[in-house]
């Protein structure tokens, strides 16, 4: 099933995968994008859960989105609600939480819901890229 495979081509460059970053802070989206683009990922942005749901339902994203990185404290549809939506509608897309507020109970509950990683800001680029790579790997394994 070729269309499910990561590593497609965009503008002639090899793409490691397509990542959606959901955060209400434009600064955060910018640095996460910067960090992931360097490692060859294509990065889409959404400023809240509502927009994220729009993005994931848009055209080929439904099939080609490899990872969602999601903040929790956001306006409109917040992170927890967006995650619940993604889990029930797009169970195959791995979710990574990237939050400013470390909360053990919340982390446990998200991981139980199937979130693959729970990262607390500020997170080093290397760690973030590793988490994304790991999530994509798990997605590939799940498909085998």
């Amino acid at each position: 099933m070729d269309e499910f495979k990561s590593g497609f081509f965009i503008g002639g460059e090899a793409c490691e995968g397509r990542v959606l970053v959901v955060d209400d802070e434009p600064d955060i989206r910018k640095v996460v994008k910067m960090t992931l683009q360097k490692a060859g990922y294509e990065v889409l942005e959404a400023e809240n859960g509502e927009k994220a749901i729009e993005v994931i339902n848009c055209g080929e994203n439904r099939l080609l989105l490899d990872v969602v990185i999601c903040d929790i404290r956001m306006p409109k549809i917040n992170g927890a609600e967006a995650i619940a939506y993604f889990r029930s509608n797009y169970p195959r897309v791995p979710l990574i939480v990237l939050t400013g507020f470390p909360d053990t109970d919340m982390a446990t509950s998200f991981l139980r819901q199937g979130v693959v990683d729970y990262l607390v800001k500020p997170v080093e680029g290397e760690k973030l890229r590793a988490a994304v790579a790991r999530a994509i790997e798990q997605r590939e394994l799940a498909r085998l």
């Binding site: 209400d24 802070e25 600064d27 910018k30 404290r73 400013g100 997170v123």
Partner: protein
């Protein structure tokens, strides 16, 4: 109140003791302060009395002899005054002087210290609930700083380097402003610092603090400030009042969102401050209890039950009043009314 229940009090001595007595007795409905005397016209108690429109004099015989005084409180600390009073007081008047009045003053001081402690503990308990908001607002700039710094280590484009260095500096400023606001808020209110306070500025400052207690994302803000709204009081304490009321308003709209209206108005020598939400409202059978100490509708461990109690204490101290209007599922409006102070000159905020 029948006139026979009214205690007419004369205060002698307008130093710190006289000042404290004034503030305490002024709020007791069964007491009328007929006047305060001191030989020093600049004594702090005399200034306070003028603000409260209580007669001020240097003439002790007139004060104690001609106004139907039933209680003379002598806090001059002068043994000659004590002797004079016992010889010349009206036969129907009681005198509290010497060690007895010193003891009274000590008790008043003790009470005001307890009040300050209560306020501080409630404030600190509240700050515990700010943790999520503070973490969010500090870790976001930190993420930006870290990301940019990692990028800078490899960046070759000098223009990009300059631009990103500037962004880092701005992010550091944002994070440090959070710490500055919160340390200012968490400190002990400095005692006896009644100054002119701009209500509009304090409302904006309170909004910044309230953001940590609860997310304001889904809340529409309406600000209707009348310029020059100023009151006399302790700026730290007024801030505490406003943070409390705004936080409550935001909590009342927590699950559904809504509109928060902040309004100031100058009218007939008074300043009106209105804090309105469109939240869950207060049940009619609970509305009379909200200013009672330890009354809370929050889950155990979530609220101290001292918020509105302290709000009421402070507003009374500032010679203001509070009115509450609430409807279930429609919202709540708190209106504070204070005597207006002279408008603050530009560039001299407190």
């Amino acid at each position: 109140m029948e006139s026979s229940d009214l205690t007419k009090v004369a205060i002698l001595g307008a130093g710190r003791g006289g000042h404290a007595l004034l503030d305490l007795l002024y709020h007791i409905p069964s007491i009328e302060i007929v006047g305060i005397a001191d030989h020093d016209p600049a004594a702090p108690g005399l200034q306070r009395a003028r603000e409260l429109r209580i007669p001020v004099t240097t003439n002790v015989p007139d004060l104690i002899g001609n106004h139907g005084v039933s209680l003379i409180l002598d806090v001059t600390g002068d043994p000659d005054m004590e002797t004079y009073l016992h010889a010349h007081k009206p036969p129907t008047a009681n005198v509290l002087s010497g060690s007895a009045s010193r003891l009274l003053w000590k008790l008043i001081q003790h009470e005001s210290e307890l009040e300050a402690e209560l306020l501080q503990s409630e404030k600190l308990a509240g700050i515990g609930s700010f943790a999520a908001g503070i973490a969010h607002d500090i870790n976001n700039p930190l993420q930006l700083i870290l990301g940019l710094a990692e990028n800078l280590a490899e960046e070759r484009d000098l223009i990009a380097v300059h631009e990103q260095a500037r962004e880092i500096i701005e992010a550091v400023k944002r994070a440090s402003a959070i710490c500055r606001d919160l340390t200012r808020y968490s400190r002990h209110a400095s005692p006896h610092q009644d100054v002119l306070v701009s209500v509009n500025e304090k409302l904006d400052e309170a909004l910044k603090i309230a953001r940590y207690a609860s997310s304001l994302h889904d809340i529409e803000m309406i600000k209707q400030y009348q310029p020059g709204a100023a009151v006399k009081g302790n700026p730290d304490e007024l801030l505490h009042v406003l943070v409390n009321l705004i936080t409550n308003a935001v909590h009342a709209m927590e699950l559904v969102g809504g509109t928060l209206t902040l309004e100031t108005k100058l009218f007939a020598g008074q300043v009106h401050v209105r804090i309105s939400d469109t939240g869950c409202g207060i049940a009619p059978d609970k509305i009379h209890e909200i200013f009672e100490p330890f009354f809370t509708t929050k889950a155990p461990g979530k609220g101290t039950g001292l918020g509105l109690y302290n709000v009421n204490t402070i507003v009374n101290k500032m010679h203001g009043t509070i009115a509450v209007d609430s409807q279930i599922d429609k919202g709540t409006t708190f209106t504070l009314t204070f005597p207006s102070a002279e408008p603050i000159e530009q560039g001299n905020p407190s």
